[in-house]
């Protein structure tokens, strides 16, 4: 039996919890040795040869789909801090092998323009420090981080909640293709696994485990990204975040992490021209009250004769946008 198949067999084996499997590995060194043990000595109920057939099936299907197996041993060799009790025995990946010099970028799916520009600045900082970008695969901060990293030709890794033969959400199929070609896709789940609510918890834990640092860009108080930050803190990883305005709802999660000392503030600033746009009179007025274009003309038409160009310039820079009610809204914090 191939060694990788044995690893998959042990990883997928029912009847033993992860810590027990790791204890067996400590005793017997390799999954193959564990496999050759008599069933009675394992004191497991319900273990049978089907587990091996399933492992072989996963291995063959993975090989067909270009999915590689990254074992606990591989993780140690690659320099990951894989000794944590929750580190899985097997991780599946496509593309380049996982890189341990890594930082996770996390945050809300409902990303604001300010969060978008902060992601850009953080990516630039990471590029200078030669870091690998890790993120989930959701829209918002994670999507922008992965796309930005690929554009900057940085190593980018997405951690998924399902088997690597499918794409969830489907609208990110193109990003998935780019990551397979130029980056890495990782999942703790074998081919055929579909996303469910428990999968997201396991993915978040893995994301926190695999990275040395976690940076929360933007999150409200109800954002799931806060749980990743909390996991990272629990695993003794460094957690950083951006301090936001005290009363802002969009970055209330950032401020909560800072207040509870789970995270430290990161030193990152927006470029001056972008910052000026955010503090433009028209933008600040829309922050207080979304307005339709006729109202904008009535309020600012005298002061800014070319108000159309001004609003479009702000829209072009993502500072303001038109919502589904036909009103222009501010996209900052």
């Amino acid at each position: 039996m191939k060694e990788k198949v044995a690893w998959i067999w042990l990883h997928e084996l029912k009847g033993l919890i992860l810590s027990q499997k790791k204890q067996l590995l400590e005793l017997y060194q390799t999954p193959l040795a564990i496999y050759n043990l008599p069933v009675e000595s394992l004191q497991i109920r319900g273990v049978d040869s089907l587990a091996l057939e399933y492992a072989e099936e996963i291995y063959e299907k993975s090989a067909q789909m270009g999915v590689e197996i990254f074992t606990l041993e591989d993780a140690h060799r690659a320099g990951f801090e894989a000794s944590h009790k929750l580190w899985p025995l097997v991780i599946y990946y496509r593309g380049n092998p996982p890189n341990s010099h890594s930082v996770a970028l996390i945050g809300t799916r409902d990303l604001s323009a300010m969060g978008y520009y902060f992601v850009e600045e953080i990516l630039e900082k990471m590029r200078r420090e030669d870091n690998n970008v890790y993120a989930g695969f959701a829209s918002g901060v994670e999507k922008v981080a992965l796309e930005g990293a690929l554009i900057k030709k940085m190593p980018a890794t997405a951690v998924l909640t399902h088997g690597l033969e499918t794409c969830y959400p489907k609208r990110q199929l193109r990003l998935m293709g780019k990551l397979i070609e130029h980056g890495t896709l990782i999942s703790p789940f074998p081919i055929g696994a579909t996303p469910n609510k428990y999968a997201f918890v396991m993915r978040n834990q893995l994301l926190a485990l695999m990275t040395k640092q976690t940076i929360l860009v933007e999150a409200s108080l109800t954002s799931n990204a806060l749980s990743i930050a909390q996991w990272a803190h629990m695993y003794d990883r460094t957690v950083l975040t951006i301090k936001g305005p005290p009363k802002s709802v969009k970055c209330a999660g950032n401020n909560a992490l800072l207040k509870s000392k789970i995270a430290m503030p990161i030193d990152v600033r927006l470029q001056q021209d972008i910052s000026l746009h955010f503090y433009h009179k028209v933008a600040q007025r829309l922050k207080i009250e979304p307005m339709c274009f006729d109202q904008i003309i009535q309020t600012f038409g005298t002061e800014y004769p070319d108000i159309t160009s001004l609003v479009l310039m702000l829209e072009h820079n993502r500072i303001v946008s038109l919502n589904s009610l036909g009103k222009w809204v501010y996209n900052g914090w």
Binding site: S139, Q295, T308, L312, L322
Partner: protein
């Protein structure tokens, strides 16, 4: 040899020459009309017999065969009565025409039981075809002269009764028809003015663009904000129809049989069907593949108020006409292709209750999405200008000098249309909205700055290729309004401001 009289038939709005051949044979008394005529043509036998008896003329009790050649094309209508009757009289030698060349004359008209000549639908395209086919004269009912007189350079002879026709044929006696009373061109719709519209000056800029370039437009706003008011005033700024356009419009209305309802010869049609109107009535249909509202709006405006309330089938059926500016209606008895080059003006509320964004709104997000989805993406995509309107504060005074009236807009539209007329003088199109991809490349060159700006917007808002070209066409019209040969970045900005619905996803990543 059979008598041969010329007449004109119509297929859709296109006429074609028909030879009416009449032969009296020996045998039992019958009158067979062959050549794929419909029931109305077959009933002509009784009308002809009655008219002849009324004039003390003989209806021969022998076998009569009337052939409508070409015999393999389906024919319909009652306009063949007169030529059949004349042919029968010639065949039975009951009339002796003097100095009449039947090869140069077309006879058109329905004959009543007492020998009167009655108007039929489709007279205008018939006379147009008669002129194209080289006829010098057209004999038709006096009631049809008004409609037929739009065609120049052909002699029209209008007669009230069959007796007058025979008098002209045998004795060259003809009483000329007096000039009809032309309308002053002013109709109800042209009396409306944009100076009545308060607080939507920004939207009026796009109304001018829509009218100038023939671009489709959708207005979205709460009840009472002025959507219908703005839409109904569009005819007040559209330029009058050119001669060619007039003929096209009147031909369609003539075929549809509602020429008298089309007020004002030079006014552009403004059709506003109720949302309960059937799909066939909007697109065209019926047993004889008649034109629908979209063809009746040709060279004018089709206004769909409460657009999501129209049936899904009706709205989806608009896709092809919006793209191709024509519609093909296929039925068992006939297939016709009608032109349908119109400005589609739609009006809708932002949500089912209409008050989205205010405290009055009771709609859930799912209800709003479901309501908006009644109009599919491909139809939205074909609408070049999509603008949100807000409620108007009637008590807020208008800044002085800012009221825009129809006269000002009409001047702008007229000037811009003239620019397009010169631009497309050697093309088969008339307005910017009709440009195809090759014409866009030829007439809408963009500088580097505009291209980059457009590329960013294209990526940001995930525009389709159709939307991309639509933006360029609108930018072309905006540049024409500025009387600029070149499209500049300000025109691209204006065009991007025109697509509010596409930008709803602009804040999401």
């Amino acid at each position: 040899m059979a008598s041969q009289i010329k007449t004109i038939g119509i297929n859709g709005i296109v006429g074609y020459v028909i030879d009416v051949q009449v032969k009296v044979l020996g045998g039992p008394f019958t009158m067979n009309i062959v050549g794929l005529g419909d029931a109305a043509i077959k009933e002509a036998r009784d009308r002809i017999e009655s008219a002849l008896i009324h004039l003390d003329l003989r209806f021969p009790r022998k076998k009569i065969v009337v052939n409508l050649s070409p015999s393999d094309i389906k024919k319909s209508g009652t306009s063949f009565d007169l030529p059949m009757l004349i042919g029968l009289l010639m065949e039975t030698e009951q009339i002796t025409p003097i100095d009449v060349n039947f090869n140069n004359i077309a006879f058109i008209g329905e004959v009543g039981l007492n020998g009167e000549l009655n108007h039929t639908r489709g007279i205008l395209p018939m006379v147009v075809e008669a002129k194209h086919s080289g006829f010098k004269k057209v004999v038709l009912p006096r009631d049809s002269i008004d409609e037929a007189s739009l065609v120049k350079d052909i002699e029209l002879l209008g007669f009230a009764t069959l007796h007058d026709v025979l008098l002209w044929l045998e004795k060259s006696v003809y009483q000329p028809f007096l000039e009809f009373n032309k309308t002053n061109g002013k109709t109800e719709s042209t009396k409306l003015d944009y100076s009545d519209v308060k607080g939507h000056n920004h939207i009026l800029e796009f109304v001018a663009i829509a009218a100038s370039g023939n671009h489709n437009m959708l207005l979205i706003g709460p009840p009472g904000c002025g959507k219908s008011m703005i839409a109904k005033r569009i005819p007040s700024i559209l330029p009058p129809l050119s001669d060619t356009e007039t003929l096209e419009v009147l031909a369609i209305h003539s075929v549809a049989g509602n020429l008298k309802q089309h007020h004002g010869r030079n006014d552009r049609p403004f059709r506003a069907p109720h949302y309960n109107t059937s799909s066939n009535a909007i697109i065209g249909g019926g047993n004889y593949a008649m034109p629908g509202e979209i063809s009746l709006a040709h060279n004018g405006v089709l206004f769909l108020d409460e657009m999501p309330e129209f049936s899904r089938q009706t709205i989806e059926a608009l896709r092809q006409p919006l793209e191709d500016q024509c519609v093909t209606v296929t039925r068992v008895k006939q297939t016709n292709t009608y032109p349908a080059n119109f400005i589609l003006l739609g009006a809708m509320n932002p949500c089912p209750c209409g008050y989205s964004g205010s405290s009055k709104c009771i709609c859930s997000p799912h209800e709003i999405i479901r309501y908006r989805k009644r109009i599919s993406g491909p139809v939205y995509d074909r609408i070049d200008i999509q603008k949100f309107l807000s409620s108007v504060d009637l008590f807020q005074s208008e800044p002085s000098g800012h009221a825009i009236d129809s006269r000002t807009l009409a001047t702008i539209v007229k000037r811009t249309r003239e620019i397009q007329r010169k631009r497309f003088a050697n093309e088969s199109i008339r307005t910017n909205s009709q440009m195809n991809n090759a014409q866009i490349l030829k007439y809408c060159k963009l500088d580097r700055e505009s291209t980059d700006y457009l590329r960013t917007a294209f990526e940001r808002f995930s525009f389709s290729a159709r939307a991309y070209h639509s933006i360029i066409k609108v930018a072309r019209t905006a540049a024409d309004i500025r009387q600029s040969e070149e499209i500049e970045i300000q025109d691209i900005r204006t065009a991007l401001m025109a697509r509010d619905l596409d930008k709803e996803t602009g804040g999401r990543y």
